[in-house]
Amino acid sequence: MSTDVKTATPTSQHNGQHANPNGIKLPIYMDNHATTPMDPRVLEEMLPYFMEKFGNSASRNHPFGWVAEEAVELSRERIAKLIGASAKEIIFTSGATESDNLAIKGVAEMYREKGNHIITAVTEHKAVLDTCKHLEKYGFRVTYLPVQKSGLIDLDDLKRAIDDKTILVTIMAANNEIGVLQPIAEIGKLCRERGVVFHTDAVQAIGKVPIDVNKMNIDVASITGHKLYGPKGAGALYVRRKNPRVQLVPLIDGGGHERGMRSGTLNVPGIAGLGKACAIAQEEMPQESIKMAAMRDRLKHSIMSRLDEVYVNGSEEHRLPGNLNISFAYVEGESLLMGINDIAVSSGSACTSATLEPSYVLKALGTGDDLAHSSIRFGIGRFNTEAEIDYVADRVVETVTRLRELSPLYEMAKEGVDLKSVKWAAEAH
């Protein structure tokens, strides 16, 4: 079995993949912020825990339980090591959404007597924003910090927002759409000085950029497996045990697993996989992040050298190495996706979302709705190749060029019409 795993490619025929004449397998997966393919080494680590090592890690009285527990504890250590924590500070969950919920609701309930004020930012993931909105219904006050054009919060805004009722600041480490990296160390320092718990949704950052909970004064951090080449359904929450000790009220009550913070039998194979994914990231991140950034820059230059009016959304300086989010003026995102349907990427266009609203993240940067509709997120990952980057760039340039020929807006702009001054007849909406 293990030999099969080693030779397995991370993506397979099941996605309708086929080889094109250049030897590139199509479709190309370049949506690694949505999820990553699993690293074959991770799968190999997990497999024994489905069948021969099936035990419940909470079974203390026989070797089946001990073997499972050993795997869980190894994973705990590997995760902790990657973020500079100690193993006892890692709580296993089902993934990022649960981790965010547990962190925010758990802190809110635990520190309710101290205060009722929570600070977050408008560009957070819905798992954070909707959890905060939920708490507002129960008497909590939430400040949603704006972001600058770079996508980063202004630390002075945060400073001003903290008051004597503030119990929690929750700001993500890396944004899932535009990949910008918030000034986590500065935020952590500020929170520590003011005695406020600092939670960060670090799911996009961990394994991609260095995160150190002590150097950055992070108190609580959300982690998930499937964003770093691990399995779906396996996540973790880092909860600081000392200097200061952070306590959480659990969301799920039961057998008292995970120091009472998260009851429920542990997902041993998933946990083993998450730990292995962290161990691989620990080992490979320094070289991998350089390679990712080089591929990202190659994609960017290849596209931007051939097309005019293309804009990068968010800070280029403070950014995940594998992220490129760009708007192609005068071209609607969904039609662009349709043209490059042999490449899996995402768009901030309303047409691609369930809500029919363009990306709230791009809107928060001050990107106009028109450019938000024109945005594409490229998420480059471990298994992408330079040949794929070149293929993607060519396809994007070709499709944008074709769609601009078809675009009345491009024609008007070329005729010198100021599109902002046009009175649009949008009765249909």
Partner: protein, 142 residues
């Protein structure tokens, strides 16, 4: 989102893409939608003033695949029709032809609007150039 074969066909091979001279008295231009909404359609018709027959139609669309397909189809359908016949085209027929899902119905509405706007523009120009002739057409349309 999965698209019908017809939407894909129009997206890959859009019919009648292009622009006509907006100033030509026989050309009507309809520009509908808004960039903020993610859809803008420009549909132009060239009408024979003697017969009221739409002899040519062109479009350009900023929008999703369904919007492109709806406007491409609209140009196909109006060509060869009289102005009155073209005004009778309903968005629901576009929905049916392209098998548009509910979330894309607004694309067909926009295409119908574009046809009406182009015809309206043409009529306005005709009134200016040939007041009497335009009068009869308006009556005919009613």
């Amino acid at each position: 989102m999965s698209y019908s074969d017809k939407v894909i066909d129009h997206y890959n091979n859009p019919r009648n893409v292009g622009s006509m001279d907006k100033k030509d008295a026989d050309v009507g231009t309809g520009l509908v939608g808004a960039p903020e909404c993610g859809d803008v359609m420009k549909l132009q018709i060239k009408v024979n003033p003697q017969t009221n027959v739409i002899e040519d139609a062109k479009f350009k669309t900023f929008g999703c695949g369904s919007a492109i397909a709806s406007s491409s189809l609209a140009t196909e359908w109006v060509k060869g029709k009289t102005v009155e016949e073209a005004l009778a085209i309903k968005n629901t027929e576009i929905v049916k032809e392209l098998a548009l899902p509910p979330v894309k119905i607004h694309c067909s509405v926009l295409a119908e609007d574009a046809i009406r706007a182009a015809i309206g523009d043409w009529k306005k120009k005709q009134e200016a150039v040939r007041p009497a002739a335009a009068q009869t057409e308006v009556q005919a349309a009613q």
